[in-house]
């Protein structure tokens, strides 16, 4: 029977895709997880941070004031702004215990000043371990305004009456910051660092179940031997299977990116201040380039997973072999988050880490595009080598008929 040059590969691909599309477990991992989990994760994260900030900014702070006679007007200043509630205490010694019991959020202690019209010290006692606490900021705001009032009075008494004269005395020289790092760069450093954690695992997860099914699954069901008897070279069989695993991983990774992009498009404008600006500044081209980074990443994972799966004798064995390789997608991404690690020519050659770093740069908007080429090329070479290994592996009797 005459055969086309590509004979068999297409048949394998079509059949495996059909089977994968009928497997509920695979579909959940490939389609549902990225589309549901990612927006959920983002929403929960943002909501949590926003909620914590809002609570800290608006909650009523109970406070104690000791030595108010040394700084007249302070008590009235605190009463004048909302959100503060005074609690009477007996002595300074009681402050630590009351702070610990959360009866007080903070206490202000004013020691006796050295003399008339001298500088007053106000001690702030509070729990400075809490990250979301706004006690210091809110108290400082009140004290600053109060202090400015006292200062203006004293300057006026000295004969410096106008606001501009007073300003010229207080701050004769003012530095105005014109930093080169845009807000996008600063926030992109954080957001871009998180993004690889969200998308790279899906290159792996999306490919995992199809890979196990297409390799170890054939052994476990006893269909592998029959398949090997088809008049199709083993290279074409394994390539057909590989392409299906690759497709699944890429679909999953793409959907995770779509979920992220979609979420920011819908929720981004509602975000507070700078975060909404940065999400608006990330364009479709940036996301397309991030996607491009995921292609060789998925190609690598697919080759590794399929090799493991072909070697394993059963689903179970394949799963336990594949588990440590989870690290393979997490650890290099962690490396990219470490302080001091920046995209340079050396890091551009480290598989997966380079992808994570490139994604960060793309989000920051500071990508060096020649570097992008190097990363794509080096990742493609690694993926190619792994694929060659996978196809050789599939031709070995000791692997296919492992006892």
């Amino acid at each position: 029977m005459p055969r086309k040059a590509s004979g068999g590969l297409g048949a394998v691909y079509r059949k495996e895709i059909l089977e994968v599309s009928r497997d509920r477990k695979t579909l959940v991992f490939m389609l549902v997880l990225p589309l549901v989990l990612i927006p959920l994760l983002l929403q929960v994260m943002v909501d949590f941070v926003a909620e914590a900030n809002k609570k800290a900014a608006t909650e009523t702070l109970t406070y104690a004031l000791v030595g108010e006679e040394h700084l007249p007007g302070l008590s009235e200043a605190l009463d004048g702004v909302g959100g503060f509630e005074r609690v009477e205490i007996d002595s300074v010694e009681a402050i630590p215990a009351k702070l610990k019991a959360e009866e007080l959020k903070f206490a202000l202690v004013v020691p006796e000043p050295l003399g008339e019209s001298q500088q007053s010290i106000v001690e702030l006692h509070y729990d400075n371990a809490s990250m979301t606490s706004k006690v210091k900021a809110r108290t400082a705001d009140v004290l600053k305004e109060f202090g400015e009032g006292v200062r203006a009075e004293r300057l006026t008494a000295l004969g410096i009456r106008t606001f501009s004269d007073q300003s010229a005395i207080i701050a004769p020289v003012v530095m105005v910051e014109r930093g080169t790092a845009s807000m996008r760069e600063k926030l992109g450093e954080n957001l871009g660092g998180i993004l690889p954690y969200m998308v790279i695992p899906f290159c792996f997860l999306g490919a995992l179940y199809p890979a196990i099914d297409l390799g170890a699954g054939e052994k476990e069901r006893g269909t592998l031997e029959t398949l090997l008897l088809a008049p199709v070279s083993r290279l074409r069989l394994v390539l057909g299977k590989y392409l299906v695993v690759f497709t699944s991983g890429l679909v999953s990774a793409t959907l995770s990116l779509v979920a992220i992009g979609g979420w920011f498009a819908i929720e981004g404008p509602k975000l507070a201040g700078e975060l909404s600006e940065i999400t608006a500044s990330i364009g479709a081209v940036d996301l397309a380039l991030v996607w491009l980074m995921l292609v060789p990443t998925t190609a690598m994972f697919a080759a590794i997973l399929l090799s493991i799966s072909i070697y394993a004798k059963s689903f179970k064995e394949a799963q336990s072999f594949a588990a440590p390789f989870n690290m393979l997608c997490i650890l290099p991404a962690v490396a990219a988050m470490l302080p001091g690690v920046e995209l340079n020519w050396k890091w551009a050659l480290v598989p997966v880490s380079n992808i994570a770093l490139a994604i960060k740069e793309l989000i920051k908007g500071t990508m060096d595009y020649s570097m992008l080429g190097v990363i794509l090329a080096s990742s493609s070479v690694v993926a190619g080598v792994l694929l060659v290994f996978c196809t050789r592996w599939f031709s070995r009797e000791s692997v296919l008929f492992r006892q």
Binding site: M1, G7, T223, T226, L228, V232, E397, L400
Partner: protein, 265 residues
């Protein structure tokens, strides 16, 4: 027609641990790290006949059949399937060979029709011929009622029929049945045997590997018996009884297990 000439298949083994040393001395197939699973086997299986392949468990039957079916490479010797060398031209051999094993599974998420179409596609059949062939086989095997149900949902007997359909979809010249009735009930096993005989009627070369002596007595024209990788007997059922001096085939089997090569034919 199937010709096997001085076939040897050697597996390399991992280094033995100390405790296995006694056992390895007892097995003549182990030489150092090499294991001679098939050791110089020669026989012929003519077309239009059923050749029974006999031997106890671990005799090397499965390895022999895997070499014949090209899933393993011969270490030395030659195997010709319908005039094609398994080592030199494995793809041509696969075109001419059908292989059915008792423990072959199916793709549970495909229907019998899709499954047969897949293997037809792999054999490079054109769509029209393939569809006609599938309908043909469905008729012969009585699969019409479940041709479009998922294989997962089928009974053991139905699955075995689907497997037969899959084996024969490309109309092979040489058909190997490797313990095809193992685990089947009487009606299902009878169906298979009837099919094996039908293949003979059509002039195909049929190899039947089995442990059931009554099956051998009933349908085999020719017997090839191996043990510990070596050929022990070739000839007809009658010759097997005659040579061994036993009245039942089971006894003859035991008597010939350790015989020097007897070529009764």
């Amino acid at each position: 027609m199937l010709e096997v000439r001085r076939l040897v298949k050697v597996f390399q083994q991992p280094k033995k641990k100390k405790k296995g040393a006694d056992a390895s001395a007892a097995d003549p197939r182990e030489r150092g790290r090499s294991f001679h699973a098939v050791d110089g086997v020669t026989f012929e299986a003519p077309g239009g006949k059923i050749t029974g392949l006999l031997g106890p468990n671990g005799a090397g039957k499965t390895t022999l059949l895997r070499v014949i079916s090209t899933s393993l490479q011969p270490t030395s010797g030659q195997v010709m399937v319908d005039g094609r060398d398994v080592a030199a031209d494995p793809l041509a051999v696969r075109q001419r060979l059908g292989f059915l094993s008792g423990n072959t599974g199916l793709y549970g998420r495909l229907t019998p029709r899709e499954l047969m179409r897949y293997f037809g596609d792999l054999h490079g059949m054109d769509a029209e011929t393939l569809d006609a062939r599938i309908n043909d086989l469905a008729g012969t095997l009585g699969m019409q009622t479940y041709l479009d149900k998922r294989c997962d949902a089928l009974s053991t007997g139905m699955k075995q029929k689907v497997n037969i359909g899959r084996t024969l979809v490309h109309d092979p010249e040489v058909i190997v049945f490797d313990e095809p009735t193992t685990g089947l009930d009487v009606p299902a096993a009878e169906n298979i045997l009837a099919l094996v005989e039908q293949c003979r009627e059509e002039g195909k070369t049929v190899i039947l590997s089995t442990h059931h002596m009554h099956e051998v007595e009933r349908i085999c024209d020719h017997i090839v018996m191996i043990h510990e990788g070596k050929l022990r007997f070739t000839g007809s059922v009658a010759q097997m009884r005659e040579v061994s001096g036993c009245d039942t085939l089971d006894k003859a089997f035991l008597a010939l297990m350790d015989a020097e090569v007897i070529d009764a034919a």
